[in-house]
Symmetry: C2
Subunit: 267 residues, 2 copies
């Protein structure tokens, strides 16, 4: 996943990723099987990470899991490195006005990273979706962002896509996707016709800075059981208002110090 490891720090973070990829706490022996690092090295790295609170070691059964220090760091990351704090109130009203589920996403090295969510029906838990990643090529928010990237940025990111066919309607090749992106750019919004998950459809619009840089995207999601694309598209004006409001606020936001104009910083 991450590029060739720079030095010790890179290796340590690779170990962290390995543990993170696991469903359950993991034994040292298992870790060793998955890692290319020699036993002693891996052992010392894990020890260091435990010392630092990034990993937790359960002595009773000798397993490693991610440490709570990460949750703390992530809170800070979410606060200062995502659009979520800015978008907060706008997502609230969009969710209330439409009665639909709302997602806020940003681009993260070729993948879609969900940074916030409003669930109109059930009371929403907190981390359940923020932090999740999804492919860019088959999600509404992903396609909304792709459609408005520079040509070279797009090329780079398309090269990273797997084009796995999740459902019969998945756009499973670069050519087909590029066609779809053109339509998306022309219309100003993207759709997801059960392309990632059967029964789930959505419409999505990008959040664009004043200089037309892609900052993120917002989507309205529905189930095919309760709604259809036509009905979702009826909410496009609401959605447009929302993304424009976020963009506006993001432009004013950009750090007052030094009087610069930069809006979003994302991968």
């Amino acid at each position: 996943m991450s590029a060739a490891g720079d030095g010790t720090v890179g290796k340590a973070l690779d170990v962290l990723d390995l543990v993170a990829a696991q469903e359950k706490p993991i034994r040292f022996a298992e870790l060793q099987r998955m890692s290319v690092l020699p036993k002693a090295t891996l052992y010392r790295l894990a020890q260091t990470l435990v010392n630092q609170g990034m990993l937790v070691h359960n002595p009773e059964n000798g397993t490693y899991s991610l440490g709570v220090r990460l949750v703390r760091l992530a809170h800070a990351a979410w606060r200062q490195a995502s659009l979520a704090p800015i978008a907060r109130r706008h997502l609230d009203s969009l969710s209330v006005d439409t009665g639909l589920t709302v997602h806020l996403a940003q681009m993260d090295y070729g993948h879609v990273l969900y940074v916030d969510k409003r669930n109109a029906l059930e009371p929403a838990a907190m981390f359940t979706d923020a932090g999740k990643v999804a492919p860019a090529y088959c999600t509404g928010v992903g396609k909304a962002m792709l459609a408005f990237l520079d040509a070279d940025e797009l090329d780079q990111i398309l090269g990273m896509q797997s084009f796995h066919r999740f459902t019969p309607t998945t756009l499973a090749s670069e050519a087909v996707l590029r066609q779809s992106l053109e339509r998306t750019r022309a219309r100003g919004f993207a759709t997801d016709r059960e392309e990632h998950e059967a029964g789930v459809i959505c419409v999505a619009m990008p959040i664009l800075s004043e200089e037309e840089r892609v900052l993120g995207a917002v989507s309205l999601t529905g189930s095919t059981l309760r709604t259809d694309l036509k009905s979702l598209e009826a909410h496009i004006p609401c959605l447009r208002q929302c993304v424009e409001a976020i963009a506006e606020e993001a432009s004013h936001w950009a750090f007052p110090v030094e009087g610069n104009e930069t809006g979003g910083r994302l991968g």
Copy 2:
């Protein structure tokens, strides 16, 4: 905060913490002023962290902020290292039944770490509270957990407390706090009488494993404008039911592999 840095990795994570502590993206020069590391070392570490996606560098104004990779990692941490996924549905119903704001917290090196929340009134955003830390000695969840720790664990954690007086009712000394903890243990629940924030009161109960180990705590919070402690205490039976349900599920949870009995792993 974190102990004497082990090696390069420790230093790198210290840099990460420095950036995380900042309200806004930070310049290199500022970073250097706050760090004891020599310029070149600090520079290279920051570079490495950027390479690794842990930091983001905005070239337009030369600022560093936390990277989105952290949000991804935190999602995994939340999933596998916190009680939140287990407690999810129980917090939902507690919130619905009582109509109150619900917090789920765990202990994190002497501090209270909030890992989930239900806000009965407004639609709840996601990271806004999960990941936040608060002192243990003046919060409901903190006192609920402290009251049920082993003597030596308690001693260790009390040594870390600042006993800063946030409000007139803050228990601002170890002696007074210890008295309060005894009452808490006797009653089985803790209260917060505006001890951390004026106008905010709560009742809280610990989540205890079968072996009586403290796994976390759940609280019901209210405003003095709308309610009082007596009314909150009326919900104690609901709260008790909730923490017992979580404890029960946590005990069944503990990793099926290897047939061990361990429940919670926390700092």
